[in-house]
């Protein structure tokens, strides 16, 4: 395509984000707009769908078509949109609470359904918007008013679950590494089927300890694989701070039987005649 050139700023709206200064989500927004600029599709051909949470505020900060729905259902809205409008580039956005707790069931089935879209979860291991409760990815001993002394529950492992459920592209990035995030989101969008990118995105307000993440993350020492078993073993045994594309599969994306047939109802109506 002889694309008119788009800059990252072409994908940004003029709305000022409500995020706290230093929130990792600012960087995610930057990476997304950069990845879209690299993709080169005009903003009106992109749809950014989200649920509820600090992270889910992102659609309105882009200059794309956006849908800011209810808590936990971004994947369902995105699935309906993509099947109805296969011509669009569809991205769904969530937080760890939105995507793995209230929306957990949709996560499993979106991986399994393998519709061609990209799912970005800004994982800060906390419910930011509701002011600091543990999420499914929070450490068991993280103290909070709602769960004094911690939940005592081991965290949910989104990447492994994505693999087990059939996601076609699985990656982890850190929001502060804008270059790597941009590259991975770009690759995720281009890859057919359901692409899942978990971005470690610190909540500086309720998890100030996560400011340390920038010193803890490290690029995966081995390169990506197309073998889900290998990918799963690696993810299960790593320290959770491993970044990069971990799995790129070859499953056939969901195919909706949208045909070019016309909307003539004559045959359907004749079927009822006695």
């Amino acid at each position: 395509m002889n694309a008119p050139s788009f800059k990252a700023s072409s994908y940004k709206s003029d709305i000022t984000p409500i995020w706290c200064p230093g929130c990792g989500d600012f960087h995610v927004l930057m990476s997304i707009t950069k990845a879209l600029a690299k993709l080169g599709r005009p903003p009106e051909d992109i749809a950014v769908i989200s649920g509820i949470g600090c992270s889910s505020r992102i659609p309105a900060y882009t200059n794309c078509y956006g849908f800011h729905g209810v808590h936990g259902r971004s994947l369902a809205v995105a699935a309906g949109l993509k099947v109805a409008r296969p011509d669009l580039t569809v991205m769904a956005m969530s937080g760890d609470g939105d995507g793995f707790s209230i929306g957990g069931n949709h996560f499993l089935h979106a991986c399994r359904r393998n519709i061609d879209m990209t799912y970005v979860v800004m994982d800060n291991r906390v419910y930011g918007m509701t002011k600091g409760q543990p999420s499914p990815t929070t450490e068991p001993d993280w103290d909070s008013a709602l769960s004094p002394g911690g939940t005592g529950l081991s965290p949910f492992h989104p990447l492994v679950i994505a693999l087990a459920s059939g996601a076609n592209f699985v990656a982890r990035e850190f929001s502060g590494n804008i270059k790597a995030c941009t590259e991975t989101i770009f690759e995720a969008i281009k890859h057919p089927g359901f692409s899942f990118v978990e971005i470690l995105s610190p909540c500086v307000t309720f998890r100030p300890d996560e400011k340390e993440w920038k010193n803890q993350v490290h690029e995966a020492s081995v390169s990506e694989t197309d073998d889900p078993a290998r990918a799963a073993r690696r993810i299960m045994t790593d320290d959770g701070m491993n970044t990069g594309i971990l799995y790129r599969g070859r499953r056939k994306p969901y195919f909706a039987s949208v045909s070019d047939r016309t909307g003539d109802l004559t045959t359907l109506e004749q079927a009822f005649e006695v």
Binding site: F67, A76, G80, L81, K82, A84, S259, V274
Partner: protein, 580 residues
Amino acid sequence: MDALSPQAKNVSFAVVGTGGAGAITAGSILLEAAGKSGWYGLLTRSVGPQIRGGEAAALVRLSTKPAACMSKEFDILVAIDWKNADRFINAMPVAAGGLIVCDPAAGDPPQAALDMDCTIVQCPIGELAKSIPGGRENMISIGLVAQLAGLPVDNIMKVVQSKLGSKGEQAVETGRACIAAGMTAASGFNHAYTLAPPIEQDGSRWLITGNEAVGLGALRGGVRFAAAYPITPATEVLEYLSPALASIGGSLVQAEDELASINMIIGASFGGLPSITATSGPGLSLMMESLGLAAASETPIVVVDVMRVGPSTGIATKSEQSDLNIAVYGFHGDADHVVVAPLSVADCLFTGQWAVHIAETLQTPVILLSDQSLGQARLLIDKPADVTFLTQRKTFIAEDEDYKRYALTADGVSPMSLPGQPGGQYTADGLTHTEKGTPSSTRRDQREQMNKRHDKINNFDYGAHWGVCEGDAASDTVILTWGSLTGAARETLDTLADEGIPARLVSLRQISPFPEEALTKALTGARRVLFVEQSHSGQFYRHVRAHIDLPFETRSLNREGPYLIGPDEIASQIRDWKNQ
């Protein structure tokens, strides 16, 4: 009706047998053949709780006039066997003078059958079937009923040909032989329940269920996307839509739950395709939050609720009208939206189309309240007329500068851009927003957007579709009902008219926003108004009472399911009232 009485306006029969016996197929073939011959009628099925192999009964009423509800009593009951019969025999009482045909080899009839004031004849149904290679008992029972009710055998054979033709000529011939054997056997019973000739046929008949009709109506309205999660008694809407949509270039996605299905149709509609899902009470409960999202984000969708007996899982296979409250009042916040209800199986087609028209025109969620008694009844109806609405979303013209998705307009409806349109980008939002869609918590934005959504729905001209007024317009006695019970109330009017008792019927298709003006006008001159509804708490009565004054005497005939309110019950209420 008595044995050998000629020329009945209605003949009702039941064919019962265990799941595999083919009772439902027998009933369906007979109904379709009656339709080919110009009669009307309907089939409902009674199935036991067992998933497969349990008892099954086809209940069929044939009529010279369009018929909306099942008879309370049956002229003929053919029992292929009596297995588990005691569990459901009470649901199909045989009329005085009626006939039970049963196979002596299948054991003694249950006590409930022996207690009925009717004739029992024994007929070796199984043996007759066995005497014909490949013969089946349900085909014998078709012959029995055809003979007793006077149905033309050539039309029965046309139906058999179309049903069995794919299995080869031999199967059709076997069917023919079985039917002939059944007819010969029945001619010796010395009983007949002959249906009067059909009133002149002016056009072709359709054979359709309410669930199919809603689906087809939605397609007529322009629906091209559906999301589905199965639930009795709504599943057939989705099963109808799946291949139907595929055949016209649309699509259906099976969702993981109703939270997903409602959000999938919101997404598809945001993308520009008129979209629908169908569910029943439990699913509607799950959808409530997202229905509110559709209202606030002004995303057009249609949700069909085929109501069943509640609360909770209730009785999945039986009908009730008890989701009115949740459909109208179940949203949190003040979420203006539209609720409509089809008045008959044929009207499911119209109301399905109308619902899509309203949703698309007003950019709002529309809940269509059908119920099991409509959805799963298979009816012979006159071929429906084509209805054309000018259904169109108010679109965004690309030259518009500074596009505002939620612009305040005279009619409250704002231009809606679709993804792909340059310059139309916006973020749809359930958060209170400005005209542009930007989240806002100001008093002004909340008020303006609330007013706009309220006005677009309440100032819309719903025209004459709000409901129907039938019967003796001068009468001061009114039967007031809604949705599916309209059929029973219509038959009540006929019965009362035959007795010289004047009465009229007012029935609501538009449940919300409440058609205050139209209904008040329709009730002018009423002295007695009988509310009729299938709800334990009288949801409809309370709903009406909340909206208009009732300056007349009122009574209420309301009851929970599963026992449907019938025409005779309504008639006796009116008679008693008038006699006081």
